[in-house]
Symmetry: D2
Subunit: 266 residues, 4 copies
C-alpha cells in the first residue's frame, strides 16, 4: 500500500513525476529473466540501459531488453556508457532517439578511461551543450565537483548525477561534503550515480537530501539480486522519509532517553 | 503484506520469536499519544521502558504507559536505566517482575556516569550474574569490548547489546570493527543498542549481521517521530535483507556495469 | 643536521631540486614579522603569494613581502588566487613575471566561486594551455578528479596540486582514494594543496606517496603559528620517511608483538 | 638540538620526567642488532619488553636484551604480555622486579584471548589492585572504555594506556571519540597503546592531547624499521607541538588564505 507520503512527495524530472526515487540499471545480470525480476523487485520506474551494449531492436534476431523492460511500464533512460568522446556520446543519444521513436530523455556519460570509468568533464560539458541544444532532456553523470555540477545545470541538464565513488566499486559515497555542496546550489534534482554498494549507503544519500540514487552493480552483483533489489527499494524510501522527518541533532555527550529528573520514588 | 522472508527469518530471543528486528524505547516523547503512535509506526514488537521513570501502575492516579503500550500487543522489556550499581539494577528488575506479574525478560543497564551514560562493566557483570541466577532472562547493554561481550554470554545473558556510540548521541556506530569481533564469537543475538541516529546507521548495523537494533532517541528526537519510526522500520528490514542477499564485493577500481567486450556494432 | 635521507631524496620540480617537501603560503598572518618567522620555522624552500593581493614592489611606499621572503633565500611561487577566469589568471602570471624579472614558475589557480574557492576546471585547463605555450612552468591547483589531473599533466604542467578539501577549511583529505588514483597515473609531482588542517593530515598525504604538501591556513590560523610551522615541517618529513620505510601491513586481527611460541619457561 | 619546547614540556609519569613521548617495544625485530638500532633511532626513553618472552638474565647463556637496551640509558618497562589471568600478571611483575633489582615501574596487560589480544578488563582491574597495593607503579593497557579508564586511575595506576585498535593490527585509532572522553576525565597521563600503524596516526593521537604513544609493530613491521623509527619520533613531536600550538578551526566553507577585500589595484 502506498503511504500518503509516497503519494505527496514525488520525484520530478523534466516535468515528469515519479513515485520511486530508486533508478536502476540493466547491466551485469545473469540473464534477461534475472534482469526483469530484479528490476521489478526494486520498484524502480526509471531504468537505464547502455545503448551501445544493449539490443533495443537493432538486432532483430536476438533477445530484446524491451521484452523484460517494457516501455509501457518503465520510463526508459538510454545511456552513453562506453563513450569516451563528446561526439561518440552525442551520436549514441541520437541513435537511441531513433530506436525509441523520438524518446528524448537520456543519461549522458562520457568516460575518461577504462580503469576508473571516471567521467571526462571537458567532453561531458561539450556533449551536454550539444545535446541540450538538440532538444534532449539530459540527465548527466559527473564527478562530485560542485562548480562543474552547477555548470551542467546552467547548460540546461534536467538532472545532475554526481558519482559517490567509482562505477562498480561499491565503495559508497567517498566525499559526502562535496555532495552537500552540490545540493546547496542546485535547482535541478541531484541523484547519486555510481558507487553505492549497500542499502545503508543508498539511505545515507537520501538522508543527505539527494533526490534519488541510481544503483546497478550493487543489485546485479549481490548473491541474491532480487532480494537486494527489495532491500534497496526500502532503503531509498527509508532515507527519503528520514530526510523529511529531520534527524535528531548529533550530541558529543550522552543524554538519557528519558529526562534525568523526575525519577519515580519507590 | 508480510513477505516470505519476514516470515521465515525470525529474530529469536530466549526461545521467543519476533518478526521485527527493530526494538524501540518509550523515553523522550512529547506525550503518551505520540509515544503510542510512533511505536505503532515502527512496527516494533519489543518495547523497552525505564522502570524507575515510567508509571507501570505504581502511581494509580497518573497516566500509565501500559495504556498505550499494551502487554497484549507488545513484548515489554523493562530496563534499569538510571541505575549506577549492581544492587540498584537487581532491585529494579525485581520491582519490574512484581509489577508485571512475573515477567522475567529484562534489559540490564548499569551506568558509569551521567555525562556519558556509558555502562559500568564491573557492576554490569555482577548484576548479570545475580539476575541470571535469579531466573531472569537478561538482555544486557554493554560497551563494544568483545571479551566482555563473550563473558556476558557465558554468564547466561540471552542477548548482548553493545553500544554503537553514547546513548542519545546519534553518532552511529563508532567502531564497526569491534561489533564485528563481537559477532564472530557470539552464540546469542547481538543487537546494537545506543547511538543509532539515522535509518542508514540502523541499516548498516543490520548489513554487518547484527540480529537487531534498539532505537529510541533517533525516533523520539526527530522533528516528525512517526515518520522517522516508519523510516527506521524500513531501514532495519532493508539492512537485514541486504545481509541475507550478500553484498557485492568492494573493488578498488571501476568496472563497467556491462561487460566491456561485445559492444554492439552500429 | 640534515640526515642522509633528506640529502638523497630531493623533491624535483621542473628540474629544480628541493630538500623540503613542505610548501607554504603568505596569507592570513597578523603581520609581516609573523609571516617571516613562521615561514622560517617551517623550513620551506618554496613560498607562494597571491600576486593580486601582495605588494611585490607594485606599491613602493608600502611594506614589501620580499623584505621578509627574500628571493635570494626562497623560491618564490606567485599564484593567481582571486582570479575567476582564464584571462585573469594569465594576465596575473604575466604581471608576476614582469615584477619578478622574468621568473616563470607560477601556481595557477582559477576559482569557481567565493563560497567554496573550488577550482573552475574548464577555465583552469584553458589557462594552463595558454601559460604553458607562453613558457611558464605551471604548478596547477585542481580538484581531485584523476582524469583532469592527467589532462593537466599532458598539457605540460610541471606539478599537479589536487585539493584535499576546501581552501581554508582545515578538513583534511576528504577523498584519499582519488588522490591515490591521481598518483598511480602521474609522471609529474603530485602535491596536496588546500584543506590540510593538522600535521597528522600532512603526514598522511606524504605516507600515501604525495611528493609534497602546500599549507597556509593551518599554520597562519593556529594560535601559535611559529610552533605549528615547526610541527608541519616534522610531520612532512615523518610522512615522507614513513613512505620510504614502507608501513606494516594492516591486519584484521591482533598479533602479539612477539611470537606466541617460545615463552621462556620460569 | 633540543628545542626550548622539548625542554619545557616533559612527560611526567610517576614523578619521573621524560623528554620523549614515544614509548617503544622490543618485539618482532629480526635480531638484537635491529632492535637496538631501531630503538636508538626512535629517540625513545621508555622501552617495554615482555618479561615472559625476553631474556633479562634468566637464561645466562643466551643473548640478553639488556645488552642492547641498557638500563643505564633507557627506562625499562617490563610488561605482562602473554598473561591471561590476574594471578599470572601479578606473578610476572614480581619476577620482573626480582630480575631488575627492585624495579617497580611495570606495564600491566591481562589479555582476553589470542585472536584479538584484547584486554580482559575484569582480570586487569583485579591485577591492578593487587599490584598497586604491592608497591608497583602500574601503567595499564586497557580498552577504550572511559569508565574503566577512570576506575584504573582511581585504583592508583600511574598511567592509563587505552588501545587505538587491536595489538599488531596497524588499524590506527578506531574510536577517537572514546579516547577524548577518557582524556577529559583523566588526572594521570593517557597514552595510546596498540594499533598505531603509521606516523600520521601517532601524530593524530598527540594532536588530540594524548600524553604519549607506545609503538612496536609499526616500527618492527616496517620494511625499514630504523627509518620508520625516525619517522615516528618526528611525528610524535609534530603532534605534540601541534597540540600546544592549537589547530585552526575547521570550517564548512572555504575562506581565502588572504582576506578578500583589499585587492591591490593594478
Amino acid at each position: 500500500m502506498m503511504s500518503e507520503l509516497e503519494t505527496n512527495d514525488p520525484l520530478v524530472i523534466a516535468g515528469q513525476t515519479f513515485k520511486s526515487r530508486l533508478l536502476v540499471g540493466t547491466g551485469k545480470y545473469k540473464d534477461m529473466a534475472e534482469t526483469g525480476a530484479a528490476i521489478e523487485a526494486s520498484g524502480a520506474e526509471i531504468v537505464t540501459m547502455a545503448v551501445r551494449r544493449t539490443n533495443l531492436g537493432q538486432n532483430p534476431d536476438e533477445p530484446n531488453l524491451l521484452d523484460v523492460v517494457s516501455p509501457d511500464r518503465y520510463t526508459l533512460l538510454p545511456n552513453t556508457a562506453g563513450c569516451y568522446t563528446a561526439d561518440d556520446a552525442v551520436r549514441t543519444c541520437r541513435l537511441a532517439r531513433e530506436l525509441l521513436d523520438g524518446h528524448d530523455l537520456v543519461k549522458l556519460e562520457v568516460l575518461g578511461d577504462q580503469k576508473t570509468l571516471y567521467p571526462n568533464i571537458i567532453e561531458t560539458v561539450k556533449a551536454a551543450e550539444t545535446l541540450v541544444k538538440d532538444g534532449f532532456k539530459v540527465m548527466v553523470y559527473t564527478n562530485d565537483d560542485p562548480i562543474v555540477a552547477k555548470q551542467l545545470e546552467e547548460i540546461g541538464c534536467v538532472a545532475v548525477m554526481p558519482l559517490g565513488s567509482l562505477i562498480g566499486s561499491g565503495l559508497g559515497i567517498q566525499n559526502p561534503h562535496n555532495i552537500r555542496l552540490i545540493m546547496e546550489e542546485a535547482n535541478v534534482p541531484i541523484l547519486v550515480d555510481a558507487g553505492i554498494g549497500t542499502p545503508s549507503e543508498a539511505a545515507m544519500a537520501m538522508e543527505m537530501g539527494c533526490a534519488g540514487v541510481l544503483v546497478n552493480s550493487a543489485i546485479a552483483g549481490a548473491q541474491n539480486p532480487v532480494l537486494m533489489a527489495k532491500a534497496m527499494q526500502k532503503a531509498v524510501q527509508a532515507g527519503r522519509e528520514a530526510h523529511l522527518a529531520v534527524r535528531m541533532p548529533r550530541k558529543a555527550y550522552a543524554s538519557a532517553s528519558s529526562p534525568l529528573d523526575g525519577l519515580i520514588s519507590k
